[in-house]
């Protein structure tokens, strides 16, 4: 009886610990640490499941900015008609750890001074 509760307790602790680590890194493993900021103009979009992306021209450089799935974008207050060609956008989040790849995953985007938080649990 005592052994079983020790086993259950340790299992719960272990999964909780692993769970938190997984939560912190899921989907971000390919990005660098720290907050990378990019400002540019949207040139094209491919929104919707499974992954939404924006093609952004930042001072002549072509970048890919990953945004959320429909539910995540909407939760942040972003609708598809706000993310269209010609819109100036500032994206802040994780840059790809591969320096040869102009790609980032947005934690938040700001359009016209308004900030839209895609991942409020991330700073």
């Amino acid at each position: 009886m005592q052994r079983r509760s020790i086993l259950t307790g340790s299992f719960a602790l272990l999964t909780a610990g692993l769970g938190r680590a997984a939560w912190a890194h899921h989907g971000w493993r390919w990005t660098e640490d720290g907050n990378f900021e990019l400002t540019g103009v949207i040139t094209a979009t491919r929104l919707g499941n499974p992954h939404g992306i924006l093609e952004v021209d930042a001072e002549g450089e072509a970048w890919i900015v990953e945004v959320g799935q429909p539910w995540r974008n909407e939760r942040a207050g972003l609708t598809d008609d706000m993310l269209v060609e010609g819109v100036e956008i500032t994206a802040s989040g994780g840059r790809s750890a591969d320096p040869s790849e102009n790609r980032m995953k947005a934690e938040r985007v700001s359009i016209d001074g308004t900030v839209y938080e895609l991942y409020p649990e991330r700073d």
Partner: protein, 160 residues
């Protein structure tokens, strides 16, 4: 030609609805996983039997249970997979890995059908024979290898 078909598929109301959905897309995705889990989970013990594991158990006894489950899994995996594909058809059609996955599925199904038509299978299915034969072993090994490769290719598509 394939790109034209993919573009048309992607533009259908159904594909568009899935692409814009909140919860239906991940549910379809989960359904695809359940399908492949049933397929692989059922086919592996059957393939192991073909290879000679549990050789005292008649093949017929195992296939009677495992084959319907495997087929049910395939029947769930295929339409859910088609739905998932349709959401970003042009992007997936352009990935070599997708062609590889399709080719592997075709080979795995061909392997199963050829086995079904083989003498070795017919003999074992209609008897209480124990043991196995080289023909059955070949099919079992190919089956495990091919379905494992299909699953791996599928996972890579969402990852790369």
């Amino acid at each position: 030609m394939l790109t034209a078909f993919a573009a048309a598929l992607q533009d259908t109301d159904l594909a568009t609805a899935l692409r814009q959905s909140f919860w239906v897309y991940p549910l379809v995705n989960a359904g695809h996983i359940v399908g492949l889990a049933l397929l692989f989970g059922a086919i592996v013990p059957l393939d192991l039997r073909l290879l000679g594991v549990w050789r005292q158990v008649p093949l017929a006894a195992m296939s009677r249970i495992l084959l319907p489950v495997a087929i049910a899994g395939l029947l769930l995996a295929v339409p859910t997979g088609a739905l998932l594909f349709s959401v970003r058809a042009t992007e997936y059609a352009a990935m070599p890995l997708f062609g590889v996955k399709f080719a592997l599925i075709a080979c795995a199904i061909a392997n199963a059908l050829l086995l079904r038509l083989s003498l070795a299978w017919t003999v074992h299915e209609h008897s209480e024979l124990a043991g196995t034969t080289p023909r059955l072993q070949l099919a079992g090994a190919l089956s495990i290898g091919l379905w494992l490769a299909v699953i791996t290719a599928g996972r890579m598509i969402g990852y790369l």
